[in-house]
Amino acid sequence: MSKIHVTTTVNGDEVEFLCEPDETLLDVLRDELHLTGSKEGCASGDCGACSVMVNDRLVCSCLVLGAEADGAKVETIEGMADGENLHPLQKKFLEHAALQCGVCTPGFLVAAKALLEKNPDPTETEARYWLAGNLCRCTGYDKIIRAVLDTAAEMRGN
């Protein structure tokens, strides 16, 4: 199996890597680029722990081939904070204790950011359905949803 050369942008930086044709973007992020913030919880698109943005679309990186990232813009949890300034969602997750074990947290944050970019004023129901592809087994979702809605309110200037 010969490897494929891929040039892509990850969190604003141009990166190149070699990947096998059947390697996923998640494998590449974690194993080649050492960006281990995206997690593999299922490898079948059911848990959302590997959520990233590819060309401004929220996707499961376990369901994208590394080869497909050629020429694409990829954004991961590692690019969410601006240096030491956390994104408002990251701050609110901490304030609201919206994480327990924290393994689903990167996926939730990436997905929630995508939600607020598309819909700055989601209802609770909209937030819950948007995030239905992100499984959390610890929190019962209550504090996560509160953190997302509170961030939305803050970002709207309320």
Binding site: L58, V59, V64, L65, E68, Y129, A132, G133, N134
Partner: protein, 286 residues
């Protein structure tokens, strides 16, 4: 496994036709990659069709819409005109998986995966969708209900692939709807799906109807008897009950981990009736 990302349909077709072993089309990949990861398939070739522009675009055509086979669900949902004309189809596509899946999954992929439970398929069958296929022997167009021939099996020949789906012009006073039953609110495969499209005359009598069911047989079903239960009626309670009975009667389901045979038969009738009610309200509003 080889990965190719051609920019034209012709190249894609010749790659698929020329493959020595199993060759797969990659659109959104939300089924294909799951099968790859689970070692359910070991293709020799994967052809990524997302660099083919026509397969990524939605165009208006004769009052209807031609939807590239690789258009992602999220892109379809964001198209205001398609959503206004065929809300049932767009909602059905939107039910496929999570927000993340919507960023990738396509109507073409949902159809060609061949699952009897595919959410968008009953809706597209009810809508009278025509499917464009390119292959080594040129292009052909067939109704959506002729694609899936068994679980995981399609009528596509070697080297053929679906390039676009055509949703026809929406007649006046018509509406469509799709409902599915799942145990949770999201993230499940349909246990039963029901798509209904219907048209009323000025007096409110149903002049045309198509009813399609998913997950109740080896393939999605277009149920003529269910449509007949509506046509010529004012969609009163009796007609709706007749529709439900006809839908239930058409089912030939199995017991499996997602539901029992009896459950599917009963719920198919319930969902067909509920979907028809929504389609009716939409038709009255148009």
């Amino acid at each position: 496994m080889r990965y190719e990302a051609p920019e034209t349909i012709d190249t894609a077709v010749s790659l698929l036709a020329g493959a020595g072993g199993d060759a797969r089309v990659l659109a959104g990949g939300t089924d294909l990659l799951v099968q790859l990861r689970a070692d359910m398939i070991e293709p020799e070739l994967v052809v990524d069709v997302k660099k083919i522009q026509s397969m990524r675009t939605i165009t208006e055509e004769n009052g209807g819409f031609r939807i590239g086979a690789a258009v992602a669900g999220a892109e379809l949902s964001e198209h205001p005109k398609v959503k206004a004309a065929w809300p049932g189809v767009v909602e059905a596509v939107d039910l496929i998986g999570s927000t993340q899946i919507q960023g990738r999954a396509s109507m073409g992929g949902n159809l060609c995966n061949g699952s009897p439970a595919a959410d968008s398929v009953p809706a597209m069958i009810a809508a009278g969708t025509m499917v464009s296929i390119a292959g080594p022997n040129g292009e052909r167009e067939v109704p959506a209900e002729e694609i899936i021939v068994g679980p995981g099996k399609t009528s596509l020949a070697k080297g053929e692939m679906v390039t676009s789906l055509f949703l026809p012009a929406r007649p006046a006073r018509s509406g469509d709807a799709y409902l599915r039953f799942i145990p949770r609110t999201e993230m499940d495969i349909a246990v039963v799906g029901a798509g209904v499209s219907l048209t009323l005359d000025e007096g409110g009598t149903c002049t045309a109807a198509r009813v399609a069911l998913g997950a109740v047989a080896a393939t999605p079903l277009l149920v003529q008897e269910a449509a007949d239960a509506l046509i010529g009626t004012k969609l009163d309670d009796a007609a709706m009950e007749a529709l439900a009975a006809a839908a239930s009667a058409a089912c030939n389901p199995i017991d499996d981990k997602r539901g029992t045979k009896d459950f599917r038969i009963k719920v198919a009738g319930v969902l067909a009736r509920r979907a028809a009610q929504i389609a009716l309200e939409r038709a009255r509003g148009n």
